[in-house]
């Protein structure tokens, strides 16, 4: 069995996902961006969609369907980029201007 189909691979993916979530939390705190539950859900859904897109491209190449990989990659990729931009704007909702600089100065 390929390493990428093994349970250990999914364990590593889970660990990386946790680090990513912690990093987002730190990033939001540093910028004084409130992160209510709906922002977390939107973010996680988007991350899963990006993961799906990448897995779709890989699977299609793997099973000998390059047309599906390219066309699906473009379609889902464009959706991921557009929704990513929307998500970025959503995440910033509630940001208090100037708080970021204040927090940085306090740390120093």
């Amino acid at each position: 069995m390929s390493f990428f189909m093994s349970g250990f691979f999914w364990f590593l993916e889970g660990a990386l996902f946790c680090i990513f979530i912690l990093a987002v939390r730190a990033w939001a705190e540093d910028r004084s961006i409130p992160m209510p539950y709906w922002k977390w859900i939107s973010l996680i859904v988007w991350v899963f969609f990006v993961g799906f897109t990448l897995a779709f491209i890989g699977t299609s190449f793997g099973e000998g369907e390059p047309a599906a990989a390219i066309r699906g990659g473009i379609l889902f990729g464009v959706i991921a980029i557009i929704s990513g931009v929307g998500l970025w704007r959503l995440l910033k909702i509630g940001n208090i201007p100037g708080e970021e600089e204040f927090a940085t100065a306090t740390e120093e």
Binding site: A15, F20, D30, V50, T59
Partner: protein, 519 residues
């Protein structure tokens, strides 16, 4: 006091954020590599030389229904294979057509009954049957000489797979189906050897007919299914035999003497066990030129013959029905009754595991078993919208319209003649199977296609059917249907997908100049 060394001050929050960004990138790359591994995974070649692929079996329980998804719409009529079954009819046609032509006859008068009446009622069928003999086959022979070398390995592969197969029935059901009288483990069969001298009489497990005393039909069904899998079947289901599916007349090669005498359904054809195996996936996708049905039919035939022997050893009658040794009945509706799948627009059964890529065989018997329920996993609604098979069919045999009544049942009407005429025009291993290859359900068992299957099977709104159909059409395009034809008919011998490397004859065989590889 000042420190002489510069402080190595690591900002932990910054480190965490950089780590998170790196983790996201590595995780994303991992998803892509996982996908690639899943696409290449040998386990996704479901049912090919193994019946133990990962996630092989679809959980049918929640999709079970009391009645099959085909609809009874009138008085059922048993099929008359002498005219309705194209292989049987064309076998008779050939002999009578050649003789009639020598006698200077034309039209339906060239034929004996029942062909004469049939062709009078269906002149368009006669036209297509003649077209096959007079135009298509001669053209195919010429094209085969010019371009056939390209498909030499495919032909060899098909012949190899079809080379092994047990004999079919050697007599009518009353003679062939019952166990031979010979000594069996556990007791004596009726008329077998009597104990000699002071040999103790063994405890018997059989009744006077020589049949073992089975404890429970549910357990017997479980046993039969396990044995069928052990013998090599990918899928197996059990049903009571519906007499509507038995041919009205016997056909050649099944041990019947008089083929024009109606076939009486024997009492011991009470149950039907349906076994099935898929065609090798990569050649199957490279149809119509590189694939073959022989690989799957050969395996199904062997499984069926072995299962027949197993059942007979238990003292019960059994008879196999599978190509190579032919049938006394129609297999797809029986397989649908047995819960293996549903009938698609292309008239081929669609199973959840293998899609249309299944070649079934039936064993008729009366060994008491619990039967399976038919299933409804959304194929009827999906096929209504999809039409991928009809759009890709070069012969135009698959209808774009709605179901019509045929022999008392509503179904999509496949034009058998157009379908088989195209078969006969193909170079390579013979046959077409494009509708099987392009069917959205005929996908390897990986996470992507299994997810799509589960979405369609569980979506009551049918919105997913339309979405997935349009994705199928834009993501998985095939050649223009006209390209599938041989060059003399305006095509280029195209195949739905590239053949696997081991069927590309030009990579292994040195062709002499002038033979021409490809169009």
């Amino acid at each position: 006091m000042s420190d002489s060394k510069p402080a190595f001050n690591v900002d932990r929050r910054k480190f965490l954020k950089v780590g998170g960004a790196t983790g996201a990138a590595v995780g994303g790359l991992g998803m892509g590599l996982f996908g690639y591994a899943a696409g290449k995974d040998p386990n996704s070649y479901l049912g090919w030389q193994t019946y133990e692929g990962v996630n092989q079996f679809f959980n049918r329980k929640r999709y079970e229904v009391d009645k099959p998804t085909y609809i009874s719409s009138g008085t059922p009529r048993r099929v008359d294979p002498r005219v309705d079954q194209i292989f049987e009819r064309r076998g008779r046609f050939m002999m009578q057509y050649m003789r009639g032509r020598q006698q200077g006859l034309s039209g339906p008068d060239m034929f004996e009954e029942p062909l004469r009446s049939y062709y009078r009622e269906n002149p368009e069928v006669l036209e297509l049957d003649i077209l096959n003999v007079e135009e298509i086959q001669p053209k195919q022979r010429v094209d085969s000489r010019i371009y056939g070398q390209q498909f030499l390995l495919a032909e060899a592969w098909a012949n190899a797979m079809g080379a092994v197969g047990p004999r079919g029935p050697q007599g009518p059901p009353a003679e062939n189906d019952f166990p031979r009288q010979r000594r069996m483990m556990g007791s004596r069969m009726p008329g077998g050897d009597q104990p000699q001298g002071d040999m103790p009489t063994p405890p018997t497990v059989r009744n006077e007919s020589g049949q073992v005393d089975l404890k429970d039909p549910v357990q017997t069904a479980r046993l039969i299914k396990k044995i069928a899998h052990e013998l090599g079947s990918t899928l197996v289901g059990i049903t009571k035999l519906n007499p509507d599916w038995v041919y009205g007349y016997p056909i050649r090669g099944r041990g019947f003497e008089n083929l024009d005498e109606p076939l009486e359904i024997p009492e011991h054809w009470e149950y039907a066990i349906v076994v099935g195996t898929p065609m090798s996936w990569d050649p199957m996708y490279a149809n119509p030129t590189y694939g073959t049905s022989s690989d799957a039919y050969s395996r199904s035939r062997i499984v069926a013959a072995r299962l027949e022997a197993f059942i007979k050893t238990l003292g019960f009658p059994a008879r196999t029905h599978v190509p190579g040794t032919s049938y006394d009945l129609m297999v797809p509706p029986i397989a649908i009754d047995a819960g293996l799948g549903e009938q698609g627009r292309h008239s081929v059964m669609i199973t959840p595991e293998l899609g249309s890529n299944i070649r079934p065989a039936v064993i008729t018997t009366n060994i008491p078993m619990a039967v399976d329920k038919p299933i409804d996993f959304g194929v009827q609604d999906f096929c209504k919208h999809c039409k991928v098979c009809a759009e890709n069919c070069p012969s135009g045999a698959i209808p774009m319209g709605d179901k019509v009544e045929i022999n008392g049942y509503l179904r999509y009407e496949l034009n058998q003649e157009k379908c088989q005429n195209f078969w006969n025009s193909c170079l390579g291993s013979m046959g077409c199977r494009i509708c099987i290859a392009c069917c959205p359900y005929t996908r390897k068992a990986n996470w992507l296609h299994r997810t799509a299957l589960n979405v369609t099977a569980n979506d009551p709104t049918n919105i997913s059917d339309k979405v997935l159909t349009s994705l199928q059409k834009s993501f998985y395009p095939g050649p223009d249907p006209l390209e599938y034809f041989m060059p003399s008919m305006g095509g280029s011998n195209a195949s739905y997908r590239e053949p696997p490397w081991w069927l590309k004859a030009e990579d292994f065989i040195h062709f002499t100049p002038g033979t021409g590889v490809g169009p």
